[in-house]
Symmetry: C2
Subunit: 518 residues, 2 copies
Amino acid sequence: MNGASMNGAQALVSTLTGLGVDICFANPGTSEMHFLAALDNPAMKSVLCLFEGVATGAADGWYRMTDRPASTLLHLGPGLANGLANIHNARRASSGMVNVVGEHSTKHLQYDAPLTSDIEGLARPLSHWVRRVDSARSIAWDATAAVQAASSHPGQIATLILPGDASWQDAGEPLPVPPVVRTRRTPDLARVEHIAQVLKSGEPALLILANKATRGRALDLAGSVAAATGVRLASQFFTARCERGAGRVPLERIPYSVAPALAYLKDFKHIITVETTEPVAFFSYPDQPSLLKGPDAAVHVLAERDEDSELALTMLLDALGARHAPRMQPRIETACPTGALGPISIAHALAHAIPENAIIVDESLTTGRETMGYTMGARPHDMINNMGGSIGYSPPVATGAALACPDRRVFCMTGDGSAMYTIQSLWTQARESLGITTIIFANNSYAILKAEYANMRAGTPGERALAMIELDRPRIDWQAMAKSMGVPSCAVDTVEDLTQAMLRSAREAGPYLIEVRL
Amino acid sequence: MNGASMNGAQALVSTLTGLGVDICFANPGTSEMHFLAALDNPAMKSVLCLFEGVATGAADGWYRMTDRPASTLLHLGPGLANGLANIHNARRASSGMVNVVGEHSTKHLQYDAPLTSDIEGLARPLSHWVRRVDSARSIAWDATAAVQAASSHPGQIATLILPGDASWQDAGEPLPVPPVVRTRRTPDLARVEHIAQVLKSGEPALLILANKATRGRALDLAGSVAAATGVRLASQFFTARCERGAGRVPLERIPYSVAPALAYLKDFKHIITVETTEPVAFFSYPDQPSLLKGPDAAVHVLAERDEDSELALTMLLDALGARHAPRMQPRIETACPTGALGPISIAHALAHAIPENAIIVDESLTTGRETMGYTMGARPHDMINNMGGSIGYSPPVATGAALACPDRRVFCMTGDGSAMYTIQSLWTQARESLGITTIIFANNSYAILKAEYANMRAGTPGERALAMIELDRPRIDWQAMAKSMGVPSCAVDTVEDLTQAMLRSAREAGPYLIEVRL
């Protein structure tokens, strides 16, 4: 491409792809027509999404599997707003992304046309980096700064506001742009040596791993620390991506609910954190604590969120003078389960059925939340959780993960209530023929809220209140829903049928939906 | 109810209903369990929505038909974020609403739990009024201030952030709260008298009506002004709610596209505005103007947005010394159309089929945008447009309008691309058995963007760019979509079948969906 002939939108797309941002989850509008034209650049893969929350969630899923930011294309302030809930989830998962938000051309803003809004104001609460493009000539610099921010450790949300005139004007001669630098801060040696002394003391200690430390070499190193010192290894209840199953270093999981989390943590005298903080309750409840550790426990930071945890764990092993091999999770063959559908039998079905290298995107809430331990000895796989708590993250994240890993089957496990927030994802999955099995746990209610009602001591729900957490009038017909967007499906009433459907779905080239009738 | 025993949530609901805010479009979560319990108050109608954009859009529809704010219940920052696009549309329509946004309890915020976000920051760009409840004891005052703001003229977006502890703590003795005052500013007499002189000059003039002036007595008064002076009457292309059809004062419609709008406006020497501004292009295009009036036209403000336009028009008639009866639109019988489906035949079908007092919520874009003139002589009806330009407004607004007017049939006319943003509305429509006919114009593309691509001079779209505005892989199966959420449906290929289906649907008690295969 002759750089001198580029307009701003072409220069933007060219800069993004040159820096490795080579996918764009897009929901375009009138003000983005030049950007759309620029997407004809064959170095950029464009994926159409029918709702912006699908685009931003897919960018999150892409980052989780590649550690590289994707871009999104959103239509002015309201388009950004539709993407914000999954931007919140991505931010909490430390996923980097570059959001390109179309905007009126600069001279048009003064007239307060209908779609005008304070885009910076909408972007800032959930973005780490926000910039408005001033001119087509500086757009390559702006795009580079956005990619630099998104590629930080931890990943950041970068939002670039693109006025129409900056898209269509001549970008001039291409300027050399600085390279994107990927660094992680080095942990402090004295702090690491102190933690080595703590571990040598033999007092009960828990090492909590998060973000990039729950996989790859960092996870193996943590396993070596545990083998050398007896420290127990855990993740928070929710993890951005965890490599688990047979042949991986197993992590315990701190329980979700306050009472079991308190019971789990109460005897640890030391909590050692890696890319995370001490455990905190997800919600606050009347007369329940927010901090979950035992009353005498000390918290030690082995690696801050922006530090290199692999290096921190290596330094810790050096300080310990230890070279123990980690203890790996053995394979546990789980027989094809029989009997009634329930959280445990469903976990057994999953353990039996998931193929090697599957990616599980979990939003199963009441159905799967407490029983994932049963899949510890399954074939090796990746597990992805919702880090931000905004419901409807899993179908979009599964979409992005499947695009990132076309050779791996994705299992998206979701409650029926959750799935409805971003159900438009199914259409993109069909369009791109993505290898995703969506498993809908259809209990026809916001079941989690029935428990939370009691946890909150809100009394016994009256008829009107109860009606607000029941989804049974009407029941959602999930097979019709799947069909409407071109996704084949089945419904199952038994765990045998669920297991067989999962096995069968893993041989599909494209998406498949299983309604689990609870 | 014994006021002294109320908790904060009960005091909030009791205050809202006491001030006439007696419907709540809700998508609750854990932090809102006490508010949910308080919704057992029989004075409050609670409507469950499966996505927050449905809740805020329904509140908009409710306001448009009642001129009273509804409340919404949204789950923390991300729940608010999901509702923002339709809050933007409501704000641009001058619809008041009271958003109650659940929040962690105050002491929990310091721990930065996963769902924590800057709710004020997310609320401010699109809210006129934002407040965080400080204590259960002041909640009645906070709710009153919120309702006061929402009930202003023009209506305002009021967002009340409700921490968990403020919900569950004792609200104490009920305090007397000040009454909600509904006022409209009085127009300046000198300004009105000047406009009377302008109209007496005989120079070509256009009176543009908006918001509350496109219906009721204000519309009749404008008709009298036109009859007395020959001034032409128009609305902007988009109107919050317009009473039109046989027996109403007819308004011309300023065209949407820039070239025909310039042509329409070029000969007017005077533009007189009522609750609106001079006409502005919706988008900006290369080398096209943003302001649409003729080069020599003067703009005169008869009523500012916050002024009483009925009073302004009365004062104008007094200044003119005129008492002319308005000229009303005669009934035009439109025969049942035959032949191919197209914008004009579809408009004829609508003109033939809509029953008396129907409410048309229009988001038909390319299919219906240019042809609504053909329905001028239909039975009297209300027409509602999207004022903010954020797509996916119509199924939620139809939902709220139907709840507001249970005796009137609502026709929701929407493009297929538009409908997909907030398709979860169908479920609430089925649940509440709402009299809504959703008409999906299924052209399997973002057809509007094909035209805009050319308008933007973005050249001829390449294969990749074109693929991003085609929705035909896969085609959405709209009958399956309707079935999935319990809505009966049919598909039509001819205008005869469309007309018959519309007539039939108007006799349904509940919702119905018609897929128009274009």
